[in-house]
């Protein structure tokens, strides 16, 4: 390179730069810059017209000042003037200034665009390139508007110089990224794709980038590029290293182009054409083979370029996920890199393997490297590499190795960098839950997590362990024992106190038999931590104490003393004070029965996605993390199968019940839950545990609990459970704090017998117990209900039975009411319960040929004899389920009339003593892609009309 070509020697600029570099302090530098700015300003404003050279020099100085980090608010106009200079260097500096200091000044943009337009039209390739570079560097919308239509023409024109084509391609790419709507490729598509065949490899390189970007947005338009790309790639990988001359980089043939072609192919699925596909497979095999060859140079550039192509090829293999052979080879190749002396390769191998782990073909192969990955976790000096190792362990985890992986992650956690601890905690918590066969292991793992990295255990993690312990009764005793032991440690993390408080409060009774963990010992242990804890934890502990009062009446006095102490009752924190006051009052006033009800064990939490998983996803961004749910599906089908099997093993009736009574109140909002909820009215920790009951109803129940019971209570009536009995004959029809009423009924033809069970839930006897069934006048003539006498005394905790005989005289639409009266502790209780005796109980199925069915159907044409209901179906109609459902309605034998699943018809026919008939037609169809069912019922007696709504509900 001749020395002449270096710089064009703007002496003034060089002097200025040395001056700046000589400045001893920041202040001196600023002073020098301000002096220069003033000088330039006066030159620009001066009367004397500046020549091109001076203008260029000053603009260049301004640029230098800007790059030092100072603001520049003038000189733009002079730079624009330089654009129209005939001298190349002046033009060049002008463009550089514009590219670096874009200004959205519209007047200026117009001038700039004008200059660019002239240069593009100049047919001088160097000027054209400068203009294209400027457009690509600025990439603004205004420029896209002005030039988006010209550039494709330049790109594909036959007489355009290669270097201009390259700039045009990348310029178009940039504009496409910033304003895709302004760059329509339509008519140019085929010719752009054809650039992949260009003689000039530089043009092919630039064009491949452009096509990849376009193909990502509209793959169909650029489909033809696949075969060209494969052909091009094949020629490159099979070429001798010198064939491509200057495009060979350290003995690697065109590495940049190869990587780009492989990227382009990742926009598409594996080619369908067999020969093309085998050619691509050959290419990929060649690349894998070359990786095994001895290096042609010891330079790191050689291995980097070679491996860059290799990693991109592996990315394509993973993307296709269709060639088990290639996937396993890729995995083995990466396995070698896991122990490579180059840190970069180890890092990349771990990263790539993470995606390989999610392919069903290579998951097992990845798993064989577990020991290497674990040792990477222990020995790598670079935290970012260790982080990759953690990710990979997480991705390769399944049932077979979960214990080992979780154990290793836990032990790594003790020394892990603070920056990644929280993430590891989340990962361990998720794996422990996902692969827990035995929940004692899960509990141990989470407690270990809290012990090792308590500060990094987020709320979600300990909420989750409590949810799981509450929902799984097989682990409750173990959990109580384990937290009790963990709490023995002299210093334990506050999160452990929270878990411990909650679990002992619920299940402390399970270990109270052992004198070493007697109620008092448990309480003292918890209370010894109390004063070291923050307010929310203390609040939780207070709730645990009141639960203790219920579980262990023997420590009531001790706990009341604690609640009564000034530090509680007069606590400065309003939440703590309120809890202390309320709990103390509750424990003094309420009888043991009421306490037992109010402080009942928490009902199971509704199953939902683990909040931890959601948190991890949020933290990492879903793209970064191999999604456990998706990836597992392929790899460990067994997890999902296990759940399927669980569903399948439920009895059909149970399923049916679930399906029908979807409107049944959720456990979390059931009446029994509310009093407990009331005790912790405003605290967030219960809310976060997914207790969503409405506080207002909680408040009203609180009044009930504390109201005195001496006056006669108003008649309570409840038909909450009533809808369940539409298709069911047995179950609990009514329940409150005192009484539970269960039903068992059987029907034959027009007769029915109902067994009613009254259960006394309290520890006091009910006196003067009496019942009566009342029907309105109309119903009296349609339905006879005869009641057998019932015992007037119900002992504490006992259950008595009453028999009701029922006879259906004619069709009816109303329901009888069962009135119950008794005395409880001197209070007269009145309860009215709607008896679930409905017409359908007396239905009898009749089989019928489809021909007959439709004949009869037509006979029932009168408008008052038909009801039709259209509703949105919740599930795809399943013949068996529907049959079972309709049978349980006792509506009849089903006969399959329709040919397809979505067009099913059932004929149901009923005859009773009064020989009337119901025909039911039920089918599913799609209406604007929403599954919809239509239920038509035809019947003889008009009284049946009311029933159709419930039939409809069953159908859904």
């Amino acid at each position: 390179m001749p020395a002449v070509s270096k710089g064009d020697g703007m002496r003034g600029l060089a002097v200025f730069i040395s001056d700046i570099r000589n400045c001893k302090s920041k202040e001196a530098e600023v002073k020098r810059i301000n002096k220069e700015l003033a000088n330039i300003r006066s030159k620009f404003k001066g009367d004397k017209a500046l020549d091109g050279y001076s203008k260029k020099k000053y603009v260049c100085k301004l640029l230098f000042i800007f790059l030092l980090g100072h603001d520049i608010d003038f000189g733009h106009m002079e730079a624009v003037n330089l654009l129209s200079s005939n001298k190349y260097t002046e033009k060049q500096i002008g463009y550089l200034f514009i590219s670096v200091l874009v200004n959205s000044n519209s007047e200026l943009i117009r001038l700039i665009n004008n200059a660019i337009k002239n240069d593009l039209a100049s047919r001088n390739p160097t000027f054209m390139n400068l203009a294209l570079h400027c457009i690509a560097n600025v990439g603004s919308r205004e420029m896209a508007e002005a030039f988006a239509s010209d550039i494709p023409r330049i790109l594909v024109a036959g007489d355009t110089m290669d270097s201009v084509k390259q700039s045009a391609a990348l310029c178009l790419l940039r504009l496409n990224r910033t304003s895709p709507d302004l760059v329509p490729m339509g008519e140019w598509t085929a010719r752009v794709v054809h650039l992949l065949n260009d003689q000039h490899l530089g043009v092919v390189t630039a064009a491949t980038s452009l096509i990849t970007t376009l193909a990502q947005k509209s793959p169909d338009d650029f489909k033809t590029s696949v075969s060209l790309a494969v052909a091009r790639l094949s020629r490159i990988v099979t070429s001798a290293s010198i064939d491509l001359q200057d495009y060979t980089y350290y003995f690697v043939a065109a590495p940049w182009l190869s990587v780009k072609l492989l990227r382009l192919l990742q926009c598409y699925p594996p080619p369908e054409d067999a020969s093309l596909r085998s050619r691509l497979t050959e290419c990929l095999e060649t690349i894998l083979n070359k990786a095994q060859e001895p290096p042609k140079s010891k330079k790191v550039q050689h291995s980097n370029a070679k491996n860059a192509v290799l990693f991109e090829a592996i990315a394509l293999i993973i993307h296709h996920d269709s060639e088990p052979n290639l996937l396993v080879r890729a995995c083995n190749q990466l396995g070698q890199f896991l122990q490579h002396r180059e840190t970069n390769l180890r890092y990349l191998a771990l990263e790539s393997m993470c995606t390989l782990a999610s392919s069903e073909f290579s998951h097992e192969a990845v798993k064989t490297h577990i020991e290497t990955v674990i040792s990477a976790l222990k020995t790598e000096r670079d935290v970012s590499v260790r982080q990759r190792a953690v990710d990979l362990l997480y991705a390769m985890c399944d049932r077979s190795n979960s214990k080992q992986i979780v154990a290793e992650m836990l032990s790594y956690l003790e020394t892990a960098d603070y920056s990644i601890r929280e993430e590891i905690v989340l990962k361990v918590a998720i794996l422990a839950e996902k692969y827990a066969v035995d929940y004692t292991w899960y509990v141990d793992t989470i407690l270990n997590l809290i012990r090792i990295a308590g500060d990094y255990v987020s709320e979600e993690v300990w909420y989750r362990v409590i949810q799981i312990v509450i929902n799984r009764d097989d682990v409750q005793g173990y959990a109580a024992k384990t937290v009790f032991e963990a709490l023995q440690a002299p210093a334990c993390h506050e999160n452990l106190v929270k878990v411990g408080g909650y679990i002992l409060g619920e299940f402390g009774n399970l270990i109270a038999g052992d004198p070493r963990s007697s109620p008092l010992v448990q309480f003292n242990l918890l209370h010894s931590k109390f004063h070291l804890c923050s307010v929310p934890t203390r609040a939780l502990l207070l709730s645990a104490y009141i639960k203790f009062i219920n579980l262990f009446p023997e420590v009531k006095g001790t706990i009341q003393d604690v609640l009564r102490s000034d530090s509680q009752l007069r606590n400065a924190d309003v939440e703590l004070q309120q809890r202390a006051v309320e709990y103390l009052r509750l424990s003094c006033i309420a009888s043991t029965d009421i306490l037992a009800t109010v402080l009942e064990e928490m009902p199971p939490f509704p199953e939902r996605e683990s909040s931890i998983l959601a948190k991890l996803k949020k933290k990492k961004g879903s793209s970064k993390l191999p999604d456990m749910d998706d990836s597992r599906k392929n790899v460990n089908g067994n997890t999902e199968h296990a759940e399927d099997a669980e569903v399948a093993s439920k009895t059909p009736q149970f399923l049916l019940e679930e399906l029908i009574s979807t409107d049944r109140p959720h456990p979390s909002s059931s009446a029994t839950m509310l009093p407990t909820r009331t005790m912790v009215p405003s605290h967030t920790f219960t809310d976060n545990l997914n207790v969503n009951s409405a506080p207002s109803s909680g408040a009203s129940l609180l009044v009930d609990v504390f109201s005195d019971f001496s006056s006669a209570a108003p008649t309570e009536s409840s038909d909450e459970h009533f809808p369940r009995f539409v298709c069911k004959n047995n179950g609990v029809i009514y329940e409150n704090q005192l009484l539970q009423i269960g039903l068992k009924s059987e029907y034959r033809q027009n007769l029915g017998r109902m067994y009613v069970f009254y259960g006394n839930k309290t520890s006091t006897q009910f006196q003067s117990f009496s019942t009566s069934v009342s029907s309105n006048d109309v119903l009296c003539s349609q339905l006879n209900v005869q009641e057998k006498p019932v015992d007037p005394l119900i002992e504490a905790g006992a259950q008595v039975q009453q028999i009701l005989n029922i006879e259906c005289v004619s069709d009816f639409s109303d329901t009888p009411v069962l009135n119950i009266q008794f005395r409880y502790g001197g209070t007269l209780q009145n309860i009215a319960v709607k008896l679930p005796v409905m017409l359908n109980k007396f239905f009898q199925p009749t089989e019928m040929m489809s021909q007959d069915f439709f004949q009869r159907w037509k006979q029932l044409g009168a408008p008052q004899q038909e009801v039709q209901k259209i509703f949105k179906a919740k599930n795809q109609m399943d013949t068996d389920v529907t049959k079972a459902k309709v049978n349980s309605e006792a509506l009849g034998q089903c006969e399959h009339l329709g040919p397809s699943v979505t067009d099913l018809s059932y004929s149901i026919n009923m005859q009773s003593d009064f020989s009337f008939m119901i025909l039911l037609l039920l089918w599913c169809f799609y209406e604007s892609s929403q599954l919809t069912s239509l239920c038509s019922v035809a019947f003889t007696p008009p009284a049946l009309r009311f029933r159709c709504s419930s039939v409809g509900r069953c159908g859904s």
């Binding site: 070509s5 270096k6 640029l63 990439g139 200057d246 940049w256 980097n304 860059a308």
Partner: protein, 164 residues
Amino acid sequence: MDCRQGKLRLQKWYVPLSDKEKKKITRELVQTVLARKPKMCSFLEWRDLKIVYKRYASLYFCCAIEDQDNELITLEIIHRYVELLDKYFGSVCELDIIFNFEKAYFILDEFLLGGEAQETSKKNVLKAIEQADLLQEVRPALTGKAVIIIINILAYFHFIFLHK
């Protein structure tokens, strides 16, 4: 900012960002990269991007790439750029880049455009630059290189932002 530490020698952005954002990002990046020890791997995750960096004498070259991009080839993009500078200036040193910053930009533009490699052949890039140099008018007077002032250089940084 200590003028000996973390000075930016060149920056190139392929995404539109405000000056304020650019300053914030470079400050953060300088800190992150400076904290890296030798022998650590050349890649690191940073926000949603990956940073690929390499140190040449007193200069660090950094590129920010997207998740899907190829790290190793980016490392070689840096190397190829250094080679280009080296060939052009004849054994390049930091001062060449300081005093001829505009040339460094021009070479970069010939090599990379819109964040993508435009011409990977060393010869072709240099040919383009030489041709441009030949178009220059004869200078008013004066010597080849600018005045060289030698000072103690500690850690000077040189950033390239490659962003798709």
